[in-house]
Point group: C2
Chain length 315, copies 2
């Protein structure tokens, strides 16, 4: 069931031996939230540990710097930034029904925890964790500030997206005063590319096609391209926004050859078109400006189907 | 001479028929400052107009939306974000000695105006203009908020760089509350690339070379590449950061074939190296992490000279 801010804070204040769960393929917001909470709980003298379904990318190493491991039988389980139970990944089976408190900002309505505290207007889960940690009476040290800043920055494209509110900026201001290494974190998060991902990007540009008087742009990514460039599917995060960023493009598509032989379609739109509606036509979904679907066909055929649909029914 | 905040505000409060000057190749900060001040002065019932040495890129059209032209014999001249008189470009000869007030954040010490109000710790000139406009008793409307936000965002790489302070974020928070179209502005400023600039980027990646165990990366840009891609030198702003952003690269070089036959060198460094010191060795200068110099030689020879110097004296 849904709970309120003060109840969520009380539950954490009264808990001990706390297990913190993050979502699968962990990003800056779920990890920033998790490690900030871990640092805060330990500062209050509690035992706390964090568990991920998947390994943590090295670029997030500053989040757990200086933290020791701990092992104990948990008495309280809290999940951070986990919108629904399947996002617990490999941890779902063991923990999904045992989560005492879920702190989230997605507002999907797919509640799974015994108690959920959700602020769907919050740009990141870290914004909520920041308020909770302050309400717990914890002193915000540099470690906590770095964690919270990382989530605030990564979930907003460095304060670029429409989810940013005045509160987001006010929290960032306070975090800088608490010593957050803001520019160093941003450099690691946004301004560092591997040679391999650059190689993949170059190959993707070579596949760039344009339809509908330049309003639609498509990039195709094959398994062979990932192999040749030495990248994996995590490199696609940097590829998906490319098409929509081209001047004049209203609908940007990335068509990916999946391991199962199907075509994975990612769609990004300008404010004039609804990505989730297009994806829904093909059995997928998403947000207004970013959606996805899977089509059981070759990348060439899938691309043609989606382009045809867009040209005849959307533009 | 240098003046203080309240004197700068008083001068503007007492002035009328005000000419506002921006710097050459105008960017988001000088234009945001200029048009915010113009809007503020007109709101106070004063006559004001703005003059640029160079044309304004279409992407800044939101800054002057809804503003009417005006023409009058100026009684007071103010420059915004102009660090030294040569940056007035073609306006220098006529106006450099007549500027009553310069509002700036560069702190170069090359004063040219009768009075200069400078806050060198300010991330953008727009931050200073925001404080001045508030002190003038002007109501911050959406037009002013959009202008100030544009300068705050563009001069910090969307709040990414080390020049960002807590004040920068607090001002952004207030601007969002005053109605600034923050995400739309950021999309225009940061997430829109022309097909031509993408083509140039691809050609640049093809010239990428690596030296010093991958610590040094170099991109070479010829006049032919600009011609083929249909871009001009303004497209280089997007090229210069590329080399340094590659994982493991500490010193990134962009070598450009100039119209005069010389080689223009742009250097970006990690926090471990001083770009301005390297450039100074070749008669140039700049900041610690971004500098430039010109070498009167072919791009090939110039590149070799700089790489040799870096490998033997810097790494």
């Amino acid at each position: 069931m849904l709970t309120d801010f003060s109840t969520a804070v009380s539950m954490l204040r009264n808990a001990d031996k706390i297990l913190i769960l993050t979502h699968r393929n962990p990003d800056g917001d779920t990890l920033g939230s998790g490690f900030a909470l871990l640092r805060a709980l330990r500062q209050l003298g509690k035992r706390a540990r964090l568990l991920n379904a998947d390994s943590i990318n090295e670029k997030y190493s500053h989040l757990y710097e200086g933290l020791s491991e701990d092992d104990f039988e948990e008495e309280f389980i809290v999940s951070v930034d986990v919108a629904e139970k399947k996002l617990l990944g490999d941890l779902m089976e063991k923990y999904a029904d045992k989560v005492d408190l879920s702190v989230d900002h997605h507002g999907t309505g797919k509640l799974f925890a015994k108690n959920t505290y959700c602020e769907s207007e919050s740009a990141s889960a870290c914004e909520i964790l920041y308020e909770i940690i302050k309400a717990l009476g914890v002193k915000i040290d540099k470690g906590i500030a770095d964690c919270i800043y990382t989530g605030c920055s990564t979930d907003t494209g460095c304060f670029k997206y429409s989810n940013v509110t005045a509160r987001t900026h006010r929290i960032a201001a306070e975090l800088i005063e608490y010593g957050a290494d803001h520019s160093k974190i941003n450099e690691k998060m946004f301004d560092t590319k591997s040679i391999n991902s650059i190689m993949l990007e170059r190959m993707c540009y070579e596949t760039l096609e344009s339809f509908g008087d330049g309003k639609v742009a498509v990039i195709t990514v094959t398994k062979e391209m990932l192999r040749k460039s030495g990248t994996d599917k995590s490199a696609l995060d940097a590829i998906k926004p490319i098409t929509r960023q081209i001047e004049g493009v209203e609908i940007g598509l990335t068509v990916k050859e999946e391991d199962n032989g199907a075509a994975g379609i990612s769609i990004r739109t300008s404010e004039n078109y609804d990505a989730s509606a297009i994806c829904a036509h093909f059995g997928g979904g998403g947000h207004i400006r970013a959606g996805g679907c899977e089509i059981k066909d070759t990348t060439e055929n899938a691309k043609e189907k989606v382009i045809d649909y867009i040209i005849n029914n959307v533009l």
